[in-house]
Amino acid sequence: MPDPYQTCTFCPRLCRHVCPVALATGLEAATPSAMMGAVYLARRGLLDPSLAGRAAAMCTACGACSRHCKEQVPVGDLLSQARSRYLPPRSPEALAPVEGDAPRVAVECDTRSWAGALARKLREPVARLHTSDHLGASCMDHPQTAEPQISSLARLLDGRIAITSCSACAGVLRRANLQYVWLHSLPGIHVPTPVLDSPTMKLSPAPDLLPGTLPCCGQGGILARSFPQLAKDLARECASRLPATAVPTFDSLFRVALTPYDVDIYDPIDILLGEAPAASLHEGTSKGGEAPQKRTPLHGAP
């Protein structure tokens, strides 16, 4: 098998049109081929390794390129490996103890507290785990930071089932091989559109508006940490592709990303807290209208 970094370097960038980062930012350096190319050159000693690390940090590991690629190169994993090799490790924030004693644990990763509301809805106790860095999502590239984090998370959960609505937290739980359920899948949390279970994201905003899906809002993991501007571009791209009237979304990260834009947000936590109607939006609300859109893509946003 040829070196996959090399395969992508010499590939005529055949997946650039599905990579959300490359598309949203317009950066040549953010195409899967260029990110892999930088790593390839660093491995051959032709490029400063720190540049390769920075290139790899632009990837959100959404997996869209690999799904498209005829060679199925696992770009997300390979760039994660490259980050562990070329970027210094980051320390995750210490995990706070789980509050409460119940078989299910709500993972709260933003300012909203919803474990109590969920307990009332389910009529059963729900414990709470608060995290301010998505369970250390952006530290998962390095075994020396990931492994201790994973073990302490496993210790904290201690066989209990986590409940989350966040793709970044879910990514860590998956990585740690811990059991979790999506908040929107619980009874009584009515969310309007079907959820596509892509490997790393649970998002499919208005699938009829996009070829395939828009698999990432860029807020999770390393991209938002390393390149906040690129992450914003990506969020803006997501927003520009959604119908103006409603954004059915199940992801708190995505919600954060979309907040500055002119879209209505339906979020399972909001629905649970009674701050958003659980009314059924008709699936994939699309104006099907003609360009120009209400929000001009790329140009109008801050």
Partner: protein, 727 residues
Amino acid sequence: MSSIERIVGGIVPRVSTDPLHLLAAGRDLWSRTTLRLANGLLPQTPAAICWPETHQQLVELLDWASAAGVPIVPYGAGSGVCGGSGGREDSLVVDTKRMRGITRVDREHMLVHVEPGMLGQELEDRLERLGLATRHSPSSIWCSSVGGWAAARSAGQFSSLYGKFEDMVVAMKVATPTGTLLTGMHSPPGQEDLGPVIQGSEGTLGLITELCIRVVPVPEHRWLRAYAFPDLSSALEAMRAIMQADLWPAVMRLYDPVDTLIGGKLGSSGGKSSGKGHGHRAFLRILQSLDNLDAFRSRELNLAFALPRLLNRLAAGLGGRVLLILGWEGDPQIVPCQVQAAMGFLQGAQDLGAAPAHAWYQHRHDVSYKLAPIFSRGGFADTMEVASTWTRLEPMYRMVRDALARNVVVMSHFSHAYPEGCSIYFTFAGTGDIHRYDRTWEEALRAVRLAGGTVTHHHGVGLLKARAATRELGHALRVYRRRKQSLDPGGIMNPGRLFVAASPADDGPLPPSSKGPVFHLDSKSLLATVDPVASPSALREALAREGYTFRIPPDRPLKDWLLAWNLLAFDRHEVPMFGLQARFKDGCSARIGMAPRSAAGPDLRWGLLREAEPEAVEIPVIPLSAPRCLASMATPEPWQEARKLLRRGLRPLSCKGSSSPRGGQDRLSLLLLGPAGDSLVEALGLSPTPASSAKDPSPPRNPAMHASEDTIRGATAHHLLGEPEDA
């Protein structure tokens, strides 16, 4: 922050000198750069890269760059394969990919305004949601931009029906160092439309910032089928016959014997007619393994690449059958008539059914994955797309293939067919260093020139073919240079690309003619080289003596008629002129356009016509014996009906709307050429008119832009029926 970053940052929102971005902007997909990279040589990197977001920012940027003498390299998606867009050391790369909106959809005229940095696939996906399509589908549709398509005169896989990308563009907005330029439909009245000079200029005149392009409804119906022919010549004859019978297939791809064998395109019967014996079987195995990426590791294959002459000689010995993929798409009532009529030209072929053709359609992008592994394994691979008239096509195929075969393993296919000629796409691979690579190209390009073809049909020129394109265009380059002087006086736009400074040889006079106003008739390509000052009637008579007539009848001597030609009112399938020989005042003579639909720089014929005295013009003709069919329909709104029919994909030779003087009903009359005429008339519910009235198409009074004109010609005039809205 460097000074360039500071200054450019004051004009454009984003600029960078980060080595990561500079590295990425350092190359396009020219195989030579890839080969160097595989050998450990990094590309040159530019001084800076910026991402403008509006036309106005670009105008300001180019104004500054012109004053400061900073070279500008426009960069679309960098999928160019000729070294057209990698940033050179001292340059500022201008990446268009943050200009990627659809800014307007005009269904009335089936036009869409789009910014240049949008990737092709994104455009098609977005349009599809509106029920529209460009159907411009280059193999690079995933990785190339709309601006790059126009700048390098791209062609898609369905070009035989929809034309090249340049045929779809009706207007452009361009930022140049001297300000804003509007072309086509939006060019200032009374001024030369510089659209043909901008398209193909590969960023050397300005940056295209917005394009207005024709779109079609998403095709409702598609018909695909594969045929095997006993040899290349008979298959090429069938292709020519179909193209010249006005049957407008969307897909026509003929694989030469080697390409047919690779991947076993004809299944187990593929090798049957080829040579026998152990050597041939081994060779077949090698060839077929070329289709399998893993095979490139095998010793057998490395050996094959190292000994291209041997492999190619064995290939030539195969003779062998060839595969033709044919396809039609569009209106479910029109397509079957075209398909049925085409069957008459496929008598000698074996019908392989729909499966191989659908397999091609489904996997048509897979081939793009095949070249990269060759670099990974220490070899190089590249493609070369040339074109010529039908008359010169097969000799050119042999000459170029032989020239390539001296250095590399080569296979080819014929696609992008037109009534007057076709393009050939050579794919080659070899081992060796940059010198072998350069020699391969040099010898192949020389062969193209000797064979009378154009050195590029759709990949453009860049650095790779700059010398060859300069030679091909000869003195006609004066036309380009004059426009370059006025649009980019400081010479900052993409310097060093497209053409080289060289004094071309004079093309010399045409051979003396003994045939009166018709100097030469190429009956195979349906082209006549004629006297541009002869009267239409003298030309008509002379052509008739040879058994031909005009495809597009002029209403005055060609010289004047062509000068008044409105490029926009006609489908560019309806090309009024191919080759042009003209003499400048100082006695220098230029001859261009002798091979169809070239991408060797811009289309300079229209400028040449203005600036030099035309001496000979090559025009399309049709045989007097070609089947024609006149039909009409009574309708209160002839133009609405015409628009509907044209949008459905009907391509009449002419349409005529007439109002009855005595208060009777208005009529729409259509003249259809080719064997599908009668069945189309029936399928579309038109009333046939007796054969005697199916004469020459009546000449258009003026090339029709508006519904008020009483005659329109060609298919895409339907886009412009009615007042085009202002942009």
